[in-house]
Subunit: 249 residues, 2 copies
């Protein structure tokens, strides 16, 4: 046991305690302090009962990571929680980056990343089975990445017939990027290719809808929506998406 504390970055799954893993629960139960943001606590209310919880709002990700690292360096067992999987555009890389800036310290806390059911997989499950072939996961948020890079990746994935997952398609401040993404996808994919839209997966106001590439630009999406664009093989069956693996040919 080192003199420093420990850092767990914990993926909580998409939004229901039923999709929390035992390992995530154990990490929460073993923590001295749990760092997250408001709203995430609802589906982990039971394991965090009687725990010291610190919530900092959205946009304060760096402050959250810094405070977590400081507490761990001071000897506490810290769990940083993240919805879905903590690695997919989540807190895991930021916590490691903040820790990296303390590498002159003789003793650094151990970091464990506990994987969770990603929103990517959760939304795909609600839509059926779109991921039986290559798929690419993209975020349309250009707040932390240049749009030119995102656009290049969008075009490459569309052209190479990846099933595509679009996270953060729109927000109050980011509107045109989704239209641009739809146009790029439309250049490479058939107008009738099926698309699934999942909003608030596994949360009380969950919605699951199907549309097509040609109608996608007119669909209602926001930052809580995950968009899954089928590839040339994907088809619909009973309101589900199937990308056939190839067993039945």
């Amino acid at each position: 046991m080192s003199q420093t504390g420990s850092l767990c970055v914990v993926g909580l799954g998409p939004g229901t305690s039923a999709l929390l893993t035992g390992q995530a629960q154990a990490a929460l139960q073993g923590a001295d302090v749990i760092m997250g943001r408001g709203g995430y606590w609802t589906w982990v209310a039971e394991p965090v009962r009687d725990k010291a919880c610190i919530g900092l709002p959205l946009t304060q990700e760096v402050a959250r990571a810094q405070l977590a690292v400081e507490r761990a360096l001071a000897g506490q067992a810290v769990s940083v929680i993240s919805s879905g999987d903590a690695g997919v555009y989540g807190m895991a890389s930021l916590v490691l980056e903040v820790l990296e800036r303390h590498q002159e310290n003789a003793l650094l806390p151990d970091v464990v990343v506990i994987p969770g059911v990603s929103a990517v997989n959760a939304c795909a499950a609600l839509l059926g089975a779109p991921f039986a072939h290559e798929f690419a996961v993209l975020s349309l948020s250009d707040l932390l990445a240049p749009w030119a890079v995102i656009e290049k990746r969008l075009a490459a994935a569309a052209e190479a017939d990846f099933v595509m997952v679009l996270l953060n398609p729109k927000s109050a401040r980011r509107q045109w990027q989704f239209a641009r993404a739809c146009a790029l996808i439309g250049q490479h994919r058939a107008p009738g290719a099926p698309v699934g839209l999942v909003r608030n997966a596994y949360r009380p106001d969950q919605s699951v809808m199907l549309t097509t590439v040609s109608s996608l630009a007119h669909a209602h999406v926001d930052m809580l929506t995950t968009v899954i664009v089928g590839n040339s093989q994907t088809r619909c069956f009973q309101s589900r998406l199937i990308t056939p693996r190839g067993y039945m040919c």
Copy 2:
């Protein structure tokens, strides 16, 4: 309640009961019969105790799906289990495809796909935090998909600087595909770009190793290895991969 049974396709997570979700456990506990293949039972021994379990070996995926659908049509509650997430190259699409062939039936069983912690996310977590930007998931198995399609996707993902996940990189029968993939990746990515190799994630003989793009072709990989290739931003810190999200610039 319809007269037919039900079909759950259940993702079990990567290989430890600690990463099984409550929803997956409940599905197993509620099933009349559980269909899987040998070896998958070890980490679900407790929830499947006293259940009727049918194991058919690897390569008998179609028979497994057909039997599951037949049992559900006959009125049973059937759970088809899949390691990791059931949607990622898993049993979910095959079960839906088999069911599709019975669509002349007046009553079809409901199908629920229960997402799990994917091997993709589990291996990424063991490696640190490679997925803070766009990533692409590919299988190098060309048993059910043309190699030309896989190769096109490999080249596109490499060129567009996706973090890349390579599943099924090699098997006893498939050897040259991995060398070809390494060559393609090497054309587009720096020789020193970090690569993580995870074998048997969360299983007793787990191994986690780091290498680079230039050394990847010589690494020992097999069908139990997941390869995660960093992008131009990915760096190593304390035997971990970090792809910085961009918060700390």
